[in-house]
């Protein structure tokens, strides 16, 4: 069921209990987790934090903790599958789910006792009404009456005699039942067809903190990062992003308002959050402007930097801005103050000339101390890089802790480490995009585009991780749309596959919806993958919380794809 009063129905319930906190591996979930941890610290709530990467993990974590815990809080996992069916919990286990995955499984929605959904009702949920999809047992009677007599079961001791009219009515009712069931299938199909994401978990938990009047600037910052994660990884529509930014901006002004007058002005060491129209250039304040332009999807795609022509255009662009190459290529921090002064305006102006009208993006930044300035997207990139680090001795658990750490202001070293990793990752992505485009690795399969990263491709290990692969896939599709002349292809979704586990001979497969300005970001690949796997009995693992990401046996790749083509044609 949906929780309407998050304070009464969630926080007041768990505040005197021990809580198991199961957190999915994405940045929004980490941020929600940080906020909740801070709240739990305030009220001395005992909790155990367990990172989970997929359904199997979730199942194991539940089994390990179900003895000691009654209350489970699931962050960014659990909403889109029938949870009780999956976990088979005892009747007294209670699950609080704060998850962006949509559609929410209908059984979760209509379970009143064990599943509590902390999901904002103003999200466009479109849950089918109860009566359309469920029927009380009694009404369903009579279903199996037809074949009862040949079952060899003992005859009943007593029998009632029915009216003849009753027989006709029964037939009529059976017909109605069949119709109802057909309609139910249709409704559920429509409802479950597309996968998409709702309001950021961090924002939902932040609102809880706000309602409790325990919200702090740090919490607000985490909520901002959570939302920014949804934007960076392209999970929500532009419209949704702008709306949620506006919500957060109100909170930001509220917090800033407290310190406006002279007497209460904050020390420079305190954190200040500011709303900004900043540039869509990844990590530019921690990189050189040149490298940021080269490795940001928006600029790189617009210039088509993978081509000679594109490189030339970039040079022209830099010249147009009147910035000396030497300045542009050195560390942003070390650029001349005179150049930096109205840098944003200069870049914006030239960008407009070069057809990059959307170079500006509404976002937030923080300042603390004299030199620490970060944009929300910087943190997202850094945390994501840490979370999916492929360095040798890092276990997923370690990575989770590191990523969580880098969100705290006190851990600047970790954050800078993350930013360095993120740069490497962005460069790897750009190089891979360039090589895929230049060697025509993206093939049109009819109903979708397909790209397979061969084993041995540079940095391929990086792309065995879901978030990195998602980012690559999104950038790749944007680049492809810019580069192809085939109009039909511009409207196709993209499936990408990359080696996942060399020993187990598996590949990770991901599908994303077509690229367009007005895209609703709804993804139908989850369902399609399930069906294709079923019909070919391919060995697949649908373990990821995003149903559009699966693991597949390498040998089954061909038949799986063939089935997918037939299915979607």
């Amino acid at each position: 069921m949906f929780i309407t009063d998050i304070r009464k129905e969630f926080y007041d319930v768990v505040v005197n209990q021990r809580v198991a906190l199961l957190v999915s591996s994405d940045i929004d979930a980490l941020c929600a987790c940080k906020i909740l941890q801070a709240l739990f610290h305030c009220d001395q709530v005992q909790y155990t934090l367990v990172p989970v990467t997929g359904w199997q993990d979730l199942g194991t974590a539940f089994l390990e903790h179900k003895e000691q815990f009654r209350y489970f809080v699931l962050i960014n996992c659990g909403a889109n599958v029938d949870l009780l069916e999956t976990l088979q919990p005892e009747e007294d286990s209670i699950f609080f789910i704060c998850d962006t995955h949509r559609p929410v499984d209908v059984v979760n929605v209509y379970n009143d006792t064990q599943v509590k959904l902390m999901i904002k009702q103003d999200d466009d949920l479109g849950v089918p009404s109860y009566d359309d999809i469920f029927r009380d047992e009694e009404e369903e009677g009579g279903d199996d009456s037809g074949n009862e007599s040949d079952g060899g079961s003992e005859p009943s001791g007593k029998r009632r005699r029915y009216d003849e009219g009753e027989v006709e009515r029964r037939i009529e009712r059976q017909r109605a039942t069949r119709e109802w069931e057909a309609r139910r299938r249709e409704i559920l199909f429509d409802y479950e067809q597309y996968e998409y994401h709702g309001t950021s978990a961090a924002m939902v938990i932040f609102e809880l903190a706000w309602v409790l009047t325990k919200d702090t600037k740090d919490m607000l910052w985490w909520a901002i990062i959570g939302l920014t994660d949804q934007w960076v990884h392209d999970k929500i529509t532009h419209m949704k992003y702008v709306t949620d930014i506006a919500t957060l901006q109100r909170h930001v002004s509220r917090h800033n308002h407290r310190n406006e007058d002279e007497d209460n002005s904050l020390s420079i060491d305190c954190m200040r959050i500011s709303f900004e129209y900043d540039l869509r250039l990844a990590l530019y304040q921690h990189w050189s402007l040149f490298e940021s332009i080269c490795n940001s999807s928006y600029t790189s795609c617009n210039f088509k930097l993978w081509s000679m022509h594109g490189q030339k255009k970039l040079q022209e662009f830099l010249a147009d801005m009147g910035l000396p190459l030497k300045q542009v290529k050195q560390k942003f921090n070390s650029m001349d103050m005179s150049v930096k002064e109205n840098l944003r305006e200069v870049i914006e102006e030239s960008s407009n000339k070069y057809g990059m009208k959307d170079i500006r993006i509404q976002t937030f930044g923080i300042h603390f101390g004299f030199k620490n300035h970060f944009l929300a997207s910087d943190i997202v990139h850094a945390a994501a890089a840490l979370l999916e680090s492929t360095e040798k001795d890092d276990s997923p658990g370690d990575n989770f802790i590191k990523a969580l750490d880098c969100l705290s202001r006190s851990n600047l070293e970790r954050l800078h480490g993350g930013i360095d990793l993120a740069k490497k990752k962005l460069m790897a992505i750009q190089q891979t995009v360039a090589s895929c485009i230049c060697t025509n690795l993206i093939l049109s399969q009819g109903p979708f585009l397909y790209c397979y990263l061969l084993e041995g491709t540079p940095d391929v290990k990086l792309f065995s991780k879901p978030m990195a692969l998602t980012l690559l896939c999104k950038y790749l599709l944007k680049a492809f749309v810019r580069s192809t002349r085939n109009k039909r292809c511009k409207l196709l979704p993209l499936i990408i596959a990359a080696p996942m586990d060399v020993e187990k001979r598996t590949v990770i497969v991901l599908g994303i919806p077509p690229e367009s300005e007005t895209s609703d970001k709804k993804n139908f690949f989850g369902r399609a993958f399930e069906k294709a796997a079923e019909s070919t009995s391919s060995r697949t693992l649908h373990d990821h919380f995003d149903t559009s990401i699966i693991e597949l046996k390498m040998e089954d790749r061909t038949k799986f794809l063939d089935a997918l083509i037939t299915l979607l044609s």
Partner: protein
């Protein structure tokens, strides 16, 4: 129970552990009865809510035109008023309205009608000289009696039994059939009302309905109703139906058993299965009618609705004395079992295994009959691949086999590779079954001891991983399991060193004597 003295002596000679086969058999029956009862209750409940369509259109009850008009439902108050008026037409209409309320599928207002005190009136209407109102009242009462025991009691206490019995021989077939149906519902409530129906003399008129030269003149719906009611008169135990009534009904059942209609045959077989589900003297009454060979035929009919109850009846019969079991064997029943043990319905496999378990609890000549019918490999198959309930029955069959069989027969069983699947089942959770398996192992060892092959048995058990399982059972929570496994280990699997020296070479020389022993004159394993 009434096994002959001679038999008892033989058994005591065989059952070295003081467990005689009869005891084994009986216990099996108890378990099964329990299961069935639970299932039956479940069934009644389900049927009543879920319902089947009314019998085929050929039933004389299927009058069409009467209820076309006035589909509006009456309230119970209106019905009371109508029934209590002095006008026959009004009474008829009200009765019909009551009947309709009670015939609707969902939530028939049975209790409401009862508490309104309508039953005595309805019973009185059964005695009126007006066929339409007799019929409507009979139908209404039938449906009230189809409810819970309390609801049935209300009908009986209203004096309905004698009234219905009078209507059985009504010249109007639809009224007769409705009365038969109502009596079936009353008798189906349990042994108390069953005996009341019998005491009021229902049997004779019911049978008289069928005392015609040609049964096929009846519609199948009519015939099925009568058969079903007769089967309810045979149903339920504690006490079983009066012997006199059973003997009165049996000839008719024999006749129905030759009638070619699936529904009639099924209900007749169910009746026979009820009659054979009891002490040996009850089984004897059925055996004496000589219908076994027809039952065996029906076992092979392939019609699941008929095979199930006929197998149940056969299975009940072999829980009887060795002579009764012999009568079943003489009728060639075993020739049907290959098909039954491989039946696609696991329930049939289970019942067949249960039946065999009671045959293997008999004489060694009867065990030999099973061997000769080629059933042992099939039993081993079932043990290996059947569903769990079936496997449990097969375990019993094997254990009884090993306790009653000759050394030669046990050797044959081992040669049929029974050990591995049998030992595999030791991993079950059910300690009762584990004990039964350990019994079988002990019996097999006893046979092995007699021909000095115990050590080879040890090897075989160890080879298929059985020893590990038996060893693991020593830490079983059940005291008896612990003791039984400890006994086996101590007796046959200890003294490692000594064995190591003498067994190892033996293994290499004539290794798996079990497989080749068929060629030898002794019963080497």
């Amino acid at each position: 129970m009434s096994a002959s003295n001679e038999n008892g002596v033989r058994l005591d000679k065989f059952k070295n552990k003081g467990k005689d086969a009869n005891e084994l058999r009986r216990r099996r029956v108890e378990v099964n009865v329990e299961l069935r009862k639970a299932k039956k209750d479940d069934q009644i409940f389900k049927r009543r809510n879920v319902t089947t369509l009314v019998d085929e259109v050929t039933s004389p009850l299927q009058e069409k035109s009467q209820n076309c008009q006035a589909t509006r439902q009456w309230t119970v108050e209106e019905i009371i008023a109508g029934v209590n008026s002095n006008n026959l037409d009004a009474q008829l209409n009200a009765t019909q309205a009551a009947r309709k309320l009670l015939s609707r599928e969902r939530h028939p207002p049975i209790d409401h009608i009862i508490s309104a005190g309508l039953i005595p009136k309805l019973v009185a209407f059964l005695g009126l000289e007006s066929p339409p109102i007799q019929f409507e009242a009979a139908w209404a009462l039938t449906n009230i009696a189809s409810g819970t025991s309390d609801q049935t009691s209300a009908v009986v206490e209203g004096g309905a039994i004698p009234a219905f019995i009078r209507l059985v021989i009504s010249p109007h077939p639809h009224i007769s059939e409705q009365a038969v149906w109502a009596l079936g519902n009353i008798a189906g409530d349990g042994s108390v009302y069953r005996d009341q129906v019998i005491k009021h003399g229902a049997v004779a008129p019911l049978l008289s309905l069928l005392a015609v030269p040609e049964l096929s003149l009846f519609s199948s719906g009519y015939l099925r109703n009568i058969t079903w009611t007769l089967s309810n008169l045979c149903r339920n135990k504690n006490p079983s139906p009066p012997l006199a009534a059973v003997q009165q009904i049996l000839p008719t059942l024999v006749r129905l058993l030759h009638y070619d209609d699936k529904g009639v045959l099924a209900d007749t077989c169910w009746a026979l299965s009820y009659l054979t589900d009891g002490p040996n003297d009850r089984i004897e009454v059925v055996v004496q009618t000589g219908l076994i060979s027809r039952l065996v035929q029906l076992l092979g009919s392939g019609e699941i609705a008929v095979v199930t109850p006929s197998l149940r009846a056969i299975g009940n019969m072999v829980t009887g004395t060795d002579e009764q079991t012999q009568a079943v064997l003489n009728a060639g029943a075993l020739s049907m079992f290959p098909g039954l043990l491989r039946h696609h319905k696991s329930n049939i496999q289970k019942e067949a295994s249960w039946t065999l378990s009671n045959i293997t609890a008999g004489r060694d000549s009867q065990i030999q009959d099973i061997i000769n019918a080629g059933l042992v490999p099939l039993m081993v198959d079932v043990l290996r691949k059947g569903d769990y309930k079936t496997q449990k029955e097969a375990v019993w069959a094997i254990t009884n086999f090993t306790s009653g069989g000759t050394v030669e027969q046990v050797v044959y069983l081992v040669q049929a590779n029974v050990l591995e699947p049998l030992l595999n089942l030791l991993s079950t959770k059910d300690s009762k079954t584990i004990l039964v398996i350990l019994d079988a192992i002990t019996n097999i060892f006893l046979a092995g001891d007699k021909i000095g092959e115990a050590e080879k048995l040890c090897m075989m058990i160890e080879e298929c991983g059985g020893l590990d399982k038996i060893e693991a059972l020593q830490s079983h929570e059940n005291e008896l399991v612990y003791k039984a496994s400890l006994n086996l280990i101590e007796k046959y699997f200890s003294g490692e060193e000594e064995e190591d020296q003498c067994v190892a070479p033996e293994l290499t020389t004539d290794g798996y004597a079990f497989q080749i022993s068929e060629n030898q004159s002794t019963f080497n394993f």
